[in-house]
């Protein structure tokens, strides 16, 4: 009896130790947010958002960083989204065994083309999986050599945006593939039965049904791109800049880089500026993440 009771106590203790392992990191997160709010909220004002960086912490603002980040996001969205979704459509709709069978039905001459597609798809899959694990600084080195030097874009906002687009591409491909995979087969077959071509099926049936999932992935990718610092430092974003980028070939800074610049200064006043900048950054990123979760939970169609 004695032993049984003690083991029951052990059961309860273990359960609460496990629960604590979830709660401890979450409370650290709350501590982090609380700290940043306490440090930076007083500094946050309209003047802070619309000013340029300055020698005196109290006059400095984040305008060039904000505008630079908006440029980066636009480039990432315009480049990575179509390419990522296109790659996902290729992998899920054109290079699957189902697609292979459909092609074969049209005649054995197409057999070679689909074998080639399958082989290519396998290679792309391996690549995407590996690219998802490549550290972000390495993408910075890639952008520095290819976009800044070989293509000759210089240390411009376009080079930064393209680098970040490559960085988030695996995220978009993986999320879009999962979204496309949830579209049930019978919807496609019904469309094919009505005489639709492959692209018509993709455009009219698959993409509309997979849209919420794709959008969720895209939002998460954008939120990742907003917070990335290391790769754009490596390609040469400036840490001190007193102008707003005017075109795609302008030099630029970004919000996280401005924050990094302030954190690395020894004066405590600049740490307060960093905290205020972090509030802006965190609000943006967290709102995007919340939006993604909401979309995932509410818009996703269940079949």
């Amino acid at each position: 009896m004695q032993r049984k009771r003690s083991s029951r106590v052990g059961e309860t203790i273990f359960k609460y130790v496990c629960l604590a392992s979830v709660i401890i990191p979450l409370s650290l997160l709350v501590l982090l947010f609380g700290n940043v709010l306490m440090d930076g909220l007083g500094r946050l004002s309209w003047q802070f958002i619309t000013s340029y960086p300055a020698r005196h912490a109290s006059e400095a603002g984040i305008l060039p960083g904000l505008v630079g980040s908006v440029y980066l996001i636009l480039i990432v969205g315009l480049v990575a989204l179509p390419v990522g979704v296109g790659a996902a459509i290729f992998l899920e709709e054109y290079a699957t065994t189902d697609a292979a069978r459909a092609q074969y039905a049209k005649g054995p001459k197409r057999w070679f083309g689909l074998l080639w597609n399958r082989w290519l798809a396998n290679l792309i899959e391996v690549n995407v999986a590996n690219l998802a694990g490549v550290p972000s600084v390495i993408y910075g080195l890639l952008g520095l050599e290819i976009f800044v030097r070989v293509v000759g874009l210089g240390r411009s906002v376009l080079a930064g945006g393209l680098t970040l687009a490559l960085l988030v591409l695996p995220i978009i491909i993986i999320a879009s593939r999962e979204a496309i995979r949830t579209v049930p087969r019978h919807l496609r077959e019904a469309a094919y039965g009505l005489g639709a071509t492959r692209w018509q099926v993709v455009r009219e049936v698959v993409l509309p049904s997979a849209f919420p999932g794709i959008l969720t992935g895209a939002i998460l990718a954008i939120s990742r791109a907003i917070g990335e610092t290391a790769p754009i430092i490596v390609i040469g974003a400036l840490t001190y800049i007193t102008f707003v980028p005017e075109c795609l070939s302008s030099e630029f800074t970004a919000l996280p880089i401005q924050i990094f610049n302030w954190v690395s200064r020894p004066q405590p006043d600049f740490a307060i500026n960093a905290a205020a900048g972090i509030i802006v950054l965190l609000c943006t990123v967290m709102m995007l993440n919340a939006l993604a979760v909401l979309l995932r939970n509410h818009l996703q169609r269940r079949y």
């Binding site: 083991s7 029951r8 059961e11 273990f14 359960k15 496990c18 629960l19 392992s21 401890i24 990191p25 979450l26 982090l32 940043v36 440090d39 179509p82 390419v83 296109g86 790659a87 459509i89 290729f90 290079a95 054995p108 290519l120 798809a121 792309i124 690549n127 995407v128 590996n130 694990g133 490549v134 972000s136 600084v137 390495i138 910075g140 080195l141 890639l142 050599e145 490559l166 591409l169 491909i173 071509t197 492959r198 692209w199 998460l220 990742r224 917070g227 610092t229 490596v234 996280p256 924050i259 990094f260 954190v263 690395s264 740490a271 905290a275 972090i278 950054l281 965190l282 990123v285 967290m286």
Partner: protein, 307 residues
Amino acid sequence: MATERPTDPIPSILRGRPRPGEAAIEVLLRLCGVLSIFTTIGILYVLLSQTVQFFSEVPLRDFFLDTQWTPLFADKHFGIWPLVSGTLLVSAIALMVALPLGILAAVYLSEYATPRVRGVLKPAVEVLAGVPTVVYGYFALITVTPLLQKLIPSLSGFNALSPGIVMGIMILPTIASVTEDALRAVPSQLREASYGLGASKVPTILQVVLPSAFSGIAAAIILGLSRAIGETMIVVIAAGQQPNLTFDPRESIATMTTYIVQVSMGDTPTGTLEYRTIFAVGMTLFVMTFVTNMISQRLARRFRGLE
């Protein structure tokens, strides 16, 4: 009645007209996919070409046997070990934090939490992975280091311990989520058989569920290690950027990633030896994360095959 030839299952009248637009779209979509292959080739080309030039000026022996890393000083040394040791030290601290918490959190989410509780806690834990790393860097430098200095007076203002701990919080969701997948992949019959033999919940978890999920948990740990090795901003901000061949967590260190950022921020002209060092370091970093990622993927494939 004419018999259909088996090689031609669809009569030609049903095959439709040729559609060049469809073919063009397929080519376009294929190109989108192929871009990821070109990205990999680009990374390998950039790292290899610069690294080869680096090693034409610096012998391999210096790179692997020298114990100092001072390419930016007058007295140049190119020993990679101080950067590797710094990277491994911070990663080890991060794993010491993230491993127990991550695995136990996964046990809670998969074995104890009701679907409703799980629906709240799991996204909350995932928020940790969505926080930008500059923010974690700020947290490590401004909040955690002063706290730790109260406990350990000999801790220097820039050290390996504080970014290591904060990095542990950052990689925790990765470890927890892969471990949870692995635990959920354990068939419920195994648990029921254990209960049927009279075992209660804790022995079932510790002796049946966790061992069966071993390969998945190993995959989670190694994936976490890979993330820690590649993490940059936390260490750049809070560790001090001092290449230091030490395993003392109280001292200031530099990692491979911080060195790359440090050189990028200065005005090192392209084509110089200093410029090439960041690619040689990048290559080392790439090889380390590539190997750990491959091991992790192999292990994960094993448990996903169980499903």
